[in-house]
Symmetry: C2
Subunit: 293 residues, 2 copies
């Protein structure tokens, strides 16, 4: 059996160094520093790792999957930078360090987010080992999962729920857009690193990502109650304090923990659509449920 | 001789209605309203018009050029929304109307900008009447002209110049990145609507755009001194008030007006690389110099 933690740590190193080298190709400036600061701020790199693992499952091109996964990670990072801004969640800390606008000022943080989003699409377009058709599909999927009908649509719901009390279906819809959006993008883009991708595999990748994303988000809500500040790198109890509508608030802790397991099991079942060995993606799913941060 | 003003007004209508229909395809929300508000806020549509005219010059596909041009316009609009935010220029008015964050709140304005930027790339990828290769080049050019080494790079310099006194070369470099970036993108993407584009034509389009952009920006600086608030839709004298480093401040009004003419002439000369009739692009260049807003 694979030691999943060492394996993932190895992947994190490869991906982080790739991200670093993409950014280094640009003109030095304070905004580039802000981009690097946030990109290298100890993220779990779940999305690029998923892209690479789905590429392996589809016999895709690994360099392409790393490119594609890093593009998703850049979009993930921009969304965190903008989310932390005073006009949004107004969070001073991110992963135990000052958030981007605290370290570089709001103006530079805004531009750093904009630049990461813009460069992510340039990175997709620079891929060399995959068909033009697949690059265009990657641009299309990423724009759609990250845009107004995807992640940003989820953020819109999140803002709206501060004013109106949502139903549990609305909360789950928000999770599906906001949290699952980029996880779906990562898994699908991983499949697109193979020129002979097949639609059923794309569907299975989306199902895995959708269920994993919901499990991941409910686990996040649980950690906000049960976690400790040091492991999380941010204060616990912030959802309660901000009167956030979460699934845990609706279901309670015990039922929420059951749901995390149910969604994770559903994610893992979706992997049956693939012929290759799915052990790593199975273990990654269960590892994410057991995490403390 | 063509009546350039009627011709341009006709084009503006076509483009504005296309932009409108792209946005209408999305899930309704307050952020979508904010996007529509800013996109339909009476812009001159210079960039999409240039994309279409360069497509005509290259015998390209007009529908593709409209798609490409509208993508550039969406990026232009996002940049204005983010530029107006309190942490940037803190402008309450844009084209005679409340700016996006005044009308919809800072959080929604931030997301509206992010969404326009994200959807712009999806729009490029949705083009049907052009080769995959050209769509990928369009993504690549747009990302590069809009990103950290393009428009955003120019905004970084602009912020930096609030603290240090720039030389005139530095000011012109900032104009080249910040103002010319998306004009170059528009002209190049227009050429890419033709599958048999040729590199020399792309170079000529960039030269036209670069010179036109500089002329346009210096004219903007002049209007900030000589214009009137009603035509401009924003207060005059704001550069002076904000102690902005502009070319006009360096050269004075008279020399600046000469420079506008020189750069415009240079832009028009670049059109010699094309065999087709360049009258409209010539007239557009001179029309932009004569504008009052």
């Amino acid at each position: 059996m694979i030691d999943i933690k060492s394996y993932v740590n190895e992947q994190v190193k490869i991906i982080s160094s790739k991200l670093d080298s993409f950014l280094k190709e640009n003109m030095p400036s304070i905004v580039l520093d802000a981009m690097s600061y946030s990109v290298s701020n100890g993220g779990k790199r779940i999305r690029p790792i998923l892209a690479v693992e789905f590429a392996k499952l589809c016999d895709g091109d690994i360099d392409t999957a790393i490119n594609f996964g890093c593009a998703v990670e850049m979009i993930h990072t921009y969304s965190l930078i903008h989310d932390d801004l005073p006009c949004m969640d107004n969070d001073d800390m991110r992963r135990g360090k000052p958030s981007c606008h605290i370290a570089f000022g709001e103006d530079n943080a805004l531009l750093a987010g904009d630049a990461l989003l813009t460069e992510a699409f340039g990175l997709l377009a620079s891929s060399k080992n995959v068909s033009d058709k697949n690059i265009i599909r990657a641009v299309s999927f990423l724009s759609s999962f990250a845009g107004i009908n995807g992640m940003i649509g989820g953020q819109v719901l999140d803002l709206q729920f501060e004013k109106t009390k949502p139903t549990i279906d609305e909360i789950l819809k928000m999770y599906s857009l906001k949290t699952c959006g980029l996880i779906k993008a990562a898994c699908v883009l991983g499949c697109l690193s193979c020129n002979d991708y097949d639609e059923n595999k794309i569907k299975a990748a989306i199902e895995y990502a959708e269920n994993l994303g919901i499990a991941f988000q409910i686990q996040d809500d649980i950690l906000d109650i049960e976690g400790d500040t040091v492991s999380l790198g941010k204060p616990v109890g912030s959802d309660e304090k901000n009167d956030k509508s979460t699934a845990v608030k609706y279901f309670g802790l015990e039922k929420s923990k059951e749901l995390v397991k149910e969604y994770t099991d559903k994610a893992v079942s979706a992997l049956n659509a693939f012929n290759n060995d799915t052990e790593i993606l199975t273990q990654i799913a269960y590892m994410l449920v057991d995490r403390k941060n």
